[in-house]
Amino acid sequence: MPELLPLYGKTLAELQDIVSQEGLPPYAAMQLADWLYKKNVESIEAMTNISKSAREQLVGRYYVGLSKPEGVSASADGTKKYLFRSGNGKFVEAAYIPETGRATLCVSSQAGCKMGCLFCMTGRQGFQGNLSSGEIINQLRSIPEFKNVTNIVYMGMGEPFDNLENVLRSTEVLTSEWGMGWSPKRITVSSIGIIPAMNTFLSRSSCHLAISLHSPFDEERRMLMPIQNVYPIADVVEEIRKANIAGQRRVSFEYIMFDGLNDSPRHVREISRLLHNLRCRVNLIRFHPIPESSLRSASDETIIKFRDALTSKGIFTTIRASRGLDIQAACGLLSTKGLLKNKD
């Protein structure tokens, strides 16, 4: 018996290909999209405006492809961390972060990560595989708080631009009229700045972009993020300038603050020079310590001073609240390394 293929996460064009291959009428693609992404059915049998014979035909080759989380941890602050099994048998995590008036879901795009950043737990588990578009959106669709989520950030495990096509498929499903109908202004894709993929993303998507900055200085950023050897941050910023981002689309720079490393007035001056006249914001993040790391977070007082100094240079700067620290769901802590050998 042939292996069943998942429908969830397919774009309209891909659904059109499927109905064409199956000899179904062209309008069936839109019907499939409607059932998958608006009516949120969990089986092909439930797609009742598709003819019974067509459903039987589809059931022989496809299934919806949703998968429920296999575990959940709840933080005292209301954050929840969900554990999902990906198609290649590896595990990924997603963090649901409720706040007053909004709820953000932080999704993973890969199992593990190849980028090897010094401060990140995910990087320590190496790379296990890309998530499909369906596996990315399933992290939203299959949590109990699905309907409460107001914002999605691609800031979980993995580097989204190292899995660009699946990330773009997923944002297409999320933002299309035929799909889930989300505004792209409620979706942020975060990257360390893989330039060719970033340029493709900027031209093919309207979602917000976040870039991991962490240091404006070459040697320092290289120590924190080996990608600096391939795509220096100055080149990344230059490409963003060329993209001439306008309207409501937002570019932000993520900046984890390390005690005594990247929290000085010299850093403020260099960030100010790097981002001069670029319409963007800087998001300061406390460092959440990881085992066997000598890195420490800057103090709250230092972070506030840093924010004020950047603000005085004309750069809109915010401080991200740390959420889910007690369940290792905070920024940089997602990891399923412990499960790699424990579960099949």
Binding site: D162, D218, P226, N229, V230
Partner: protein, 221 residues
């Protein structure tokens, strides 16, 4: 969708594509742009297939650029690269990347084809007093070993993970570094290899007292 855009690459001809070991090849083509040792090029065989990055393994002075690669049976590009013959076309980007500043008396730590940037630096006489610790599964994967033995003498250390005890250290580079009694936290360490190798080696060096700012890594991704 095209994976390469016009202007991203130049069309070149393969000069040679030599099998060094099972699944391991040295590809050569003519140099069209100057480069610095440690830089990479993107290679492709068609504009429809995503290019991959490879460190240059030749001297800055050579007229040819050499690239080491291993064939990934389930990969999109390397099975096609391995079939290239002299005269076949290949897409090559301009050299780029900043893994190029090697301080004096560096310690190079490489796994597999990750030795390429260090070979380039040594062939280009960009460093003095280097130590190279190279990991490979079998002896035939110690590329350029004759040259490296002659150039570095006892400062060329082969860590062979699947060899019988004898002429090589048997084990991975991390095992070697863990018990290396000449490890000097004041030297600069340059790592090149897979994510797993780099992350593990970096953690080990830090645990042995090497400050993170003395560790520079190039990850194959």
């Amino acid at each position: 969708m095209k994976a390469w855009k016009e202007g991203d690459y130049r069309l070149q001809q393969v000069i040679s594509n030599t099998r060094l070991a099972p699944g391991a090849f040295l590809l050569k083509f003519r140099k069209q742009f100057d480069f610095s040792a440690g830089q990479i090029v993107a290679l492709g065989v068609s504009t429809d297939i995503e290019p991959r990055f490879y460190s240059i393994a030749s001297s800055e002075e050579d007229e040819l650029i050499s690239v080491l690669y291993t064939e990934k049976p389930d990969g999109k590009l390397t099975p096609m690269l391995s079939m290239l013959n002299p005269g076949n076309p290949i897409l090559v980007s301009k050299p780029f990347g900043a893994f190029t500043s090697f301080k004096s008396e560096p310690v190079f730590v490489a796994a597999g084809t990750g030795v390429a940037p260090f070979i380039s630096a040594l062939l280009s006489n960009k460093v003095r007093g280097a130590t190279l610790i190279h990991g490979a599964p079998y002896p035939e994967y110690f590329y350029f070993s004759d040259y490296l033995s002659e150039k570095l003498g006892r400062n060329y250390i082969q860590c062979c993970s699947r060899c019988m005890p004898g002429s090589h250290y048997v084990g991975r580079v991390t095992s070697y570094l863990l018990q290396w009694d000449e490890l000097d936290p004041n030297r600069n360490y340059y790592l090149c290899g897979s994510t797993e190798m780099v992350v593990e080696t970096r953690s080990l060096l830090i645990s042995r007292g090497v400050p993170p700012d003395r560790i520079n890594a190039e990850i194959y991704f």
